[in-house]
């Protein structure tokens, strides 16, 4: 059975972190047949998120020796992004039919979700706020942007996902006025 590179992306409550787990099946090709494993977190503008922050390279060294559990927690995520995440493996003995690179678009929505949670709390404690049209329309717009980002990422549209998250950020930044 050929080797196929695969990974998952997750965020918890700490929005500054994203967890990437390599879920490739290494029974097909053993880990010691690979010379490196690298991650690229491409932003919409083509630049990459560096980890550690002072890393001189565009890629994140997701080495087998450094991360034997195949999981890496990347810190320093300062806002929501539409990211294209790519994992590249280099095999010392490439096999026909095997796939050593995987790329996927994800929408990191933790900051937006946190803001939506805060707004829901305001509504829960003060339901009368819904009578304020600015409050309601801003809440609804924020939800729309989050849904749009997730949908765009599902379709692999990184630019649209990122644009929606930037609009969400603008709404959040004006929260003192809107909420």
């Amino acid at each position: 059975m050929p080797f196929v590179a695969n990974f998952t992306v997750a965020q918890g409550l700490d929005c500054s972190q994203v967890v990437i787990t390599d879920t490739s099946n290494y029974t097909a090709e053993a880990k010691n047949t690979f010379t490196y494993r690298r991650l690229y977190l491409y932003k919409a503008d083509g630049t990459t998120i560096k980890y550690p922050a002072n890393s001189p390279t565009d890629y994140i060294d997701f080495s087998f020796a450094g991360y034997p559990t195949d999981q890496i927690t990347i810190t320093g995520i300062d806002q929501d992004y539409g990211l294209r995440i790519e994992m590249d493996l280099n095999s010392s003995a490439p096999q026909p039919g095997s796939i050593y690179s995987k790329s996927t678009v994800v929408a990191l929505t933790c900051y937006t979700n946190t803001a939506l949670y805060n707004v829901a709390q305001i509504a829960a404690t003060s339901p009368a706020r819904l009578d304020d049209p600015v409050f309601y329309s801003s809440w609804s717009a924020l939800q729309t942007e989050k849904d749009a980002a997730v949908t765009a990422a599902t379709y692999g549209d990184q630019l649209s996902a990122d644009a929606a998250l930037k609009r969400a950020k603008n709404i959040i930044n004006q929260s003192a006025i809107k909420f």
Partner: protein, 182 residues
């Protein structure tokens, strides 16, 4: 403190209430010119927040408050939503259950009383057909819809178990009996 299971129930009821409330508010808007459709949007948004927070925030008092807020928002549809969620026979999930009392399609029987081979001999007042069991009937005699008891004059009684119709008077030869069963 709300349990994880209860939060799951709220979320499910919230999902169902989104379409139940939307159905109601859209009708209101169209027929009464009263627009409350944004309440559906609020239910959706609060429910989405609950979904996002469930893996991390169950047991948190602030999260409970949001969950209780959702519960209050969907109160109008709660019983219906809970019923749909429980039975799986709602409009969205599962398939409707056809009651066992109506095992087949609607139909019509036409009989000429006293004709050769007719199941209703002349000067009798009863007709039985098991296909009528547990059905709702419209009985037409000589082009007149007749009512079951207790209406006066000519009427009939209907045994839903056996499918037997018993008329209050004997039927005469040549009369045409039509039964529409649903």
């Amino acid at each position: 403190m709300l349990s994880n299971q209860l939060i799951s129930d709220y979320i499910q009821w919230g999902d169902i209430s989104v379409y139940l409330s939307d159905n109601q508010y859209q009708k209101e808007r169209y027929y009464k010119w009263v627009d409350e459709t944004r309440k559906t949007r609020v239910i959706y948004m609060v429910n989405e927040v609950l979904k996002w927070g469930q893996p991390y925030l169950v047991g948190n008092p602030d999260y409970d408050e949001v969950a209780i807020y959702l519960y209050s928002l969907i109160g109008q549809w709660l019983l219906q939503a809970a019923n749909i969620a429980q039975t799986g026979t709602g409009l969205v999930i599962g398939t409707p259950v056809i009651p066992t009392s109506t095992p087949g399609a609607a139909g019509q029987i036409t009989i000429q009383v006293g004709a050769a081979g007719s199941p209703i001999p002349a000067n009798t007042n009863q007709y039985t057909n098991t296909i009528l069991a547990n059905r709702v009937l419209i009985v037409i005699l000589d082009n007149v819809v007749i009512q079951p008891e207790p209406l006066p004059n000519f009427d009939y009684s209907f045994n839903t178990v056996t499918g037997t119709i018993t008329f209050s008077y004997n039927l005469s030869a040549g009369q045409i009996l039509t039964i529409i069963y649903i």
